[in-house]
Amino acid sequence: MKPMWTLADHRVFAGGAGTEGALLFGAEQASLYAIDAATGDFLDRWGRHGAFALAEVAPADHEIAAALADAQVLVPSARARRAPRPTIDPATVPLATLVLEAAQACNLRCTYCYAGGGTYGGAARVMSPELAARAARFLVEKSGDLPRVTLVLFGGEPLLNLPALAAAVAAGEAAAAEHGKTLVVSLTTNGTRFTPAALDFLAAHRIGVSVSIDGPPDMHDANRPYGGRAGGGSYADVVAGVARLRERTGRAPAARVTLAPDQWARIPEVFEHVLGKGFLEVGIAPATPVAPALLPTPEQDAALLAGFAHVARRFVDEARRGRVLPFSNLLDLLAKLHVGQVRGVPCGAGLGYVAMDAQGALFLCHRFAGDDGFRIGDLATGIDHAKARACLAAQAAGRADACGTCWARSLCAGGCHHENHLRESVLGLAQGTCCDFIQRWIELGIRTYGELRADPGHPVLAFVGRRAEG
């Protein structure tokens, strides 16, 4: 029998403006190629055939077939069937990142908060310094042979509980020194609590800071008002706080923007505004649909993508001048594309990434704190790997077919567990309501990467490569 060949799962994207030919993305391996028009025609023609023998291919096209075989896009039919990706056993993954919900309390009442005003349900409460210190030691001791571990100071608003943060960082640094490891500490804050003591602490330990800010005053104040009787917007305090932080630590924080669907049309304006306030980077997240009112319409989804595309366009323009536009979303996507990272799981939740609440209970990730369905042990007894395994299996259940035929699977691997949980289990939507956006966003990243690659020596590519290395 003649050996039969098949085109492996792939997508062809038209090249960006000013580039010849097209871009070929190998779905199984996340490999990315620039192809000429003849190769595009070949893929188009033979892609409709299923299996074929090389004898059927015109001699003039043999060169293309050989090149595609080298690229592992044309494969022997026997090998075209995809083996399912092996599942990762949580018990085999060392702990790399621990998120401390150091204060399950917050002085703001953001409209889209997924943590119920910072408490994750129940009354406001804070972590004791002793527990925080034990957690930091737990992180270092459970990290196997990893040279570097990350402690994330999170809340609620973590700076409401400075004693616990200080205890955790001191204990973590001591344990890391003892074990010859590096401790990386980061903090996510609403930016209203940069007191002199907090600034001293952040400066002394070189803590990477992310500040939530949602754009110009009208948008930020609509999203992020103070709680309590006083109420009122937090914009002015955040901007003043960021200025103090920069002055005291000498380092600019990253900005974390969260926008509700009716604000997505203003993304370019928000990005420019926030960048102008002196942030190192700006990342923009669509608000998680904690309530049906936050579910976007198709028009709003289109506006979100158009907004991101606009900023991506700016990114390419800046890159032409040799500058990096610090748009975190795009930089992270480009880094993944640069490597060709293939993921078997969407994120590290439960696989080296664990969150601990104020009482010492462990959860699959910080967003699931307070939800017993996603509780995976506690500090006293350690991580319950069987429960983590069950949680991850439940999240993956029913997705294998759709993901197995999706061209974006290598980079996405199913999407955010929390977002999926909210949409499917809480709001009762069908699976896959994020897929269209994710696919379009990854496609935008591929086109952008293709434009940068038109100049292989591009300094922005070198920057992206360093980011990919961490």
């Binding site: 190629y33 060169e63 080298d70 640069h338 060709g340």
Partner: protein, 107 residues
């Protein structure tokens, strides 16, 4: 220089390309049709064939060695099933090779 039809862009594509470049020499050796490729369907070891220009040309080295070891007795070694084949219990079907060899049904 002729423009390449396919250009690896990201690191993964470059790694795949390097793999392909590394494989080129063995693929070229296979393409030389000076001798039949491999031996029988059962003993086919690919292209590790008898390198000497003597009989059995193109058989695998193991079979070639057996051939020269046994040729004086006029006994053909390759018909002898063994544990390498898919007939691990050939002796049940074929207790006497000289008499019962027709019973052996190779896949």
């Amino acid at each position: 220089m002729k423009k390449k039809r396919i250009d690896a862009l990201n690191e993964k594509a470059k790694a795949i390309q390097r793999l392909a470049d590394g494989e080129q020499p063995s693929a070229a050796a296979l393409a030389e049709r000076r001798m039949p490729q491999g031996c029988t369907t059962i003993f086919d070891t690919g292209w590790e064939t008898n390198p000497r220009p003597t009989y059995p040309v193109g058989n695998c080295q193991a079979s070639a060695r057996d051939f020269h070891g046994c040729v004086g007795d006029c006994w053909w070694p390759a018909q002898m099933p063994d544990g390498l084949t898919n007939h691990r219990e050939f002796d049940v079907q074929c207790p006497n090779v000289a008499r019962d060899w027709r019973n052996l049904k190779y896949d």
